[in-house]
């Protein structure tokens, strides 16, 4: 079920009152069932997958808790990893692995071919797999006690607001909240609805509008000028941010209405002054997941400079492949890894800049612009339909940077102005977010400021959202 569908509003209108009317004991079970309904609404065939991952992880947690022997605990952990990662690998990477092996065989002039699986990718599998793994790791390392109630665990694993596109939650944050008693709170509901409204604005007015430009230009890069490709690359940078952070806001708002606080996933990422800072602000739940469950177990920065550099590259490579079963995602991850290491290397020197406030601000602004452009450059590989397209786009932009025409022959000036205005609103709110909390700023405003702001967002959505339900980009991961 899509957040931006009529069915979702009907679903929420039923789930919220029933949830608060039920005794606390039954709420996790109800949430789990509602979440399965949400998940299976459009793709009932994948319900078993979520249930299998949940059951294996739940039983694995119990088994690890029953024994103190390290070997046995480790064996159970490995089993849980194999099942969860195995399902992910089968559904997501089967064709990538098969295709790559076939290319290798072809290069060796061997006629044997590995048949393609051609299986549909279950929505949200990367997210709920990682959520299952974090539970298994945390129980194994005794960072989190085992959860004995299956309904609570199933609700944690399938919690509908964040099931298909995150944030990737940790058991330590969600499970205690699932167990706690929540009472209907008007202020929480208003706060949740406000966050959802902002999320819908980001998704429908910013991301969906920009997606039209991006799809047109990236659909046939050979037929478009370098300025069009450049504009579409900037557009995609804001599209993916609006789309993914919009989803997160809707998810967090939705959960907040139910009394559950999900973790923050974005914090004004395009105001980051370096790539390492960018990753502290972009998809925070994923970057912290990789930090805790991959980077640190690999040794982090404790095993020397070379090993640290390898660890960083491994994390970014895996992060790239987590996003999609295509080598262009691996390139995207590797680019970020290289940017990350170069930034750290450069930061070893002091730059002896003038101490004046103006110079400091100008330097900070320059770093923001440079970081944004590095991120936007990497997005080319993320968004392009094929690796060949990505290289063509880069080649055209670099070799003829000012090749006209611009976007106006393709799209109307009013449409472009609306999109630019929406991005400007996003940047303004991000500026507040960078400095503090836009929500707190809004709360301090009198009602005659707040309500017109809400009305303006509602009208912007109704007037400027393109027609039709568009999936969120991160559903494909």
């Amino acid at each position: 079920m899509l957040f931006n569908s009529v069915e979702f509003f009907a679903f929420l209108a039923v789930v919220v009152p029933v949830y608060f009317l039920l005794p606390n004991r039954w709420r996790p079970l109800f949430l789990a069932l509602a979440s399965y309904y949400f998940y299976m609404f459009s793709h009932p065939e994948f319900g078993w997958l979520l249930f299998t991952s949940t059951t294996v992880s739940y039983l694995g947690g119990l088994a690890m808790d029953r024994t103190a022997k390290v070997f046995q605990r480790r064996a159970v952990l490995v089993f849980c990893i194999v099942v969860n990662v195995g399902l992910l690998a089968f559904f997501k990477y089967g064709d990538l692995i098969g295709g790559s092996l076939n290319s290798g065989l072809h290069a060796l002039h061997l006629t044997a071919t590995i048949p393609r699986l051609h299986v549909a990718l279950p929505i949200g599998i990367s997210f709920f797999t990682f959520q299952a793994l974090s539970y298994c790791f945390d129980v194994y390392s005794r960072r989190f006690p085992v959860e004995r109630r299956f309904d609570v665990f199933a609700a944690y694993k399938a919690f509908f607001p964040q099931l298909v596109a995150g944030p990737i939650e940790r058991p330590g944050n969600i499970i205690p909240q699932m167990r706690a008693e929540h009472h209907f709170d008007y202020e929480r509901m208003v706060s949740g609805l406000r966050l959802m409204l902002w999320g819908f604005f980001k998704k429908l007015v910013i991301a969906d509008r920009l997606s039209v430009i991006v799809a047109e230009v990236y659909g046939s890069p050979g037929h478009h000028s370098s300025l069009q490709l450049l504009s579409a690359t900037y557009a995609f940078s804001f599209q993916i941010y609006g789309d993914f952070s919009g989803y997160t806001d809707i998810a967090r708002g939705c959960a907040r209405i139910l009394g559950i606080d999900l973790m923050e996933n974005f914090r004004a990422p395009y105001f980051a002054q370096s790539i390492p800072e960018f990753w502290g602000r972009w998809h925070i739940s994923l970057s912290t997941w990789f930090r805790d469950y991959l980077y640190i177990p690999l040794g982090g920065n404790r095993l020397g400079v070379l090993r640290w550099q390898v660890n960083i590259m491994v994390v970014f490579l895996v992060s790239g492949l987590w996003h999609g079963a295509d080598w262009k995602f691996a390139i995207w991850g590797m680019l970020h890894g290289i940017f990350f290491l170069v930034t750290r290397w450069l930061s070893r020197w002091s730059w002896n800049l003038p101490a004046s406030r103006w110079a400091q601000s100008a330097w900070a602004g320059a770093k923001i612009i440079i970081t944004f452009h590095l991120v936007a450059f990497a997005w080319i590989f993320f968004r392009a339909n094929t690796m060949g397209d990505a290289l063509l786009i880069v080649r055209k932009i670099v070799s003829h940077p000012l090749q006209t025409p611009i976007l106006t022959p393709l799209f109307g000036v009013p449409d472009l102005l609306v999109s630019a205005g929406a991005v400007a609103v996003l940047a303004l709110v991000n500026l507040f977010e960078w400095k503090g909390s836009p929500s707190a700023v809004l709360d301090r405003c009198p009602v005659w400021v707040r309500w017109p702001a809400y009305y303006a967002i509602i009208f912007a959505i109704v007037l400027y959202a393109p027609l039709g339900e568009r999936e969120f980009i991160y559903f494909q991961f």
Partner: protein, 382 residues
């Protein structure tokens, strides 16, 4: 203020701003799913007039109307200039459907037919070869790739209620301000029954069960000073300037003729008998075009080219460009571009008199009686 009242106060303006057009759209039948309309038009004995004001779901309805009827024997296909062929022109045992408005450009014909399962194709196809199709200034064939994609999207897309609301709520407010919404008609609830859509409900205009179009009575009199094309003044202006639907031209477009060949070959290959005709203009309009001499030189050439193409494949072709050839007075024009259903009744009668294949489906003496009855609104329901 207590939370409930605060929430109520916040929501009230939204309820008024969005709720009012939602109510108008719902009561007017604008939100009725086209599939429901198709089903009811195919099964109801009573007239179900479909006249949405804010969406163009006609191509979708026409395709699915055809599929619902399961391969009617005779189908009229084309733009608005075939829409006056009525079910009543044919014998009761003959199944007929008017797919006018589904193919408004030349390339749409073949694309529309190809979108149907082969077993759903009709026995006989009536097509109006509008002169505009063969004039590159009007039917921009270089953009026809886009046109066909647009048309295929139209026939595949079933507009949902939220889409209809989102694209029309502001226009509804403008129409309310302009006094176009008839509240008494709205609250008759006919929009939810047999006058689906605000044009059908408020103006009595829309697509009938057989797919043909019924104009509202107020549109019928060309002699009414309120008519937008009063005595063809607007049309004659377009002819003098070579604008709108009346562009000048020397020769018929070669790509358009090639596409006609492809269309006729497709029909021949699928055993669909095609009857083509140049659709009628009011005599005053036609004379104005003739008066410009060589400006419209492509039309007589087109007639020869098309006749040769149709007849070489064993099909029929007629030139009904002038009302006078049908014995129709100019008062039977809807406007400078369209004749009313009496003109099309005359057209069918003329075909039958000339020995058309349509004799297998129609009863000439009975049609003559219907024409002699003299009621210009005999096929209307208002």
């Amino acid at each position: 203020m207590r939370p409930f009242w605060r929430a109520a106060l916040f929501l009230t303006p939204l309820a008024i701003v969005f709720g009012t057009p939602e109510l108008v759209l719902w009561l007017g039948g604008e939100l009725t799913n086209p599939d429901t309309v198709v089903r009811r038009q195919a099964t109801d004995r009573q007239l179900v007039l479909h006249g949405p004001a804010y969406t163009n779901s006609a191509p979708y309805v026409k395709k699915h109307g055809l599929l619902a009827l399961q391969a009617p024997q005779v189908v009229a296909l084309g733009n608005s200039r075939v829409l006056q062929f009525r079910r009543e022109f044919f014998r009761p045992d003959v199944s007929f459907y008017n797919s006018g408005s589904a193919a408004v450009r030349l390339l749409h014909f073949r694309a529309f037919l190809e979108s149907l399962p082969p077993e759903e194709l009709p026995e006989t196809l009536l097509i109006a070869t509008d002169t505009g199709y063969f004039n590159t200034k009007f039917d921009q064939l270089d953009k026809d790739g886009l046109n066909v994609t647009w048309m295929l999207n139209q026939i595949a897309h079933n507009p949902t209620a939220p889409e209809v609301f989102l694209q029309s709520w502001w226009t509804v407010w403008k129409d309310i301000a302009a006094g176009k919404i008839k509240w008494a008609r709205l609250f008759s609830f006919d929009g939810l029954r047999n006058r689906v859509g605000l044009t059908a409900l408020c103006a009595g205009a829309g697509y009938r069960n057989d797919g043909s179009y019924q104009y509202g009575t107020r549109d019928l009199e060309i002699t009414n000073p309120q008519h937008s094309d009063y005595h063809f003044a607007k049309t004659l202006g377009h002819i003098a300037a070579g604008e709108g639907r009346f562009p000048w031209g020397d020769t018929p477009s070669a790509p358009a003729l090639k596409e006609t060949d492809a269309l006729l070959d497709f029909c021949a290959a699928h055993h669909v008998y095609v009857i083509g005709f140049l659709p009628p203009h009011a005599h005053a309009v036609w004379m104005a075009m003739q008066g410009l001499g060589e400006r419209y030189a492509y039309i007589p050439k087109l007639e020869r080219e098309l006749r040769a193409r149709f007849e070489s494949r064993g099909f029929e072709f007629y030139d009904f460009s002038d009302f006078a050839t049908l014995g129709a007075p100019d008062t039977e024009a809807v406007d400078g571009y369209h004749g009313n259903e009496r003109v099309y009744l005359r057209l069918v009668i003329t075909m039958l008199e000339r020995g058309s294949h349509l004799n297998a489906y129609a009863d000439l003496p009975e049609l003559r009686v219907k024409l002699a009855a003299g009621n210009p609104a005999q096929f209307q329901d208002n």
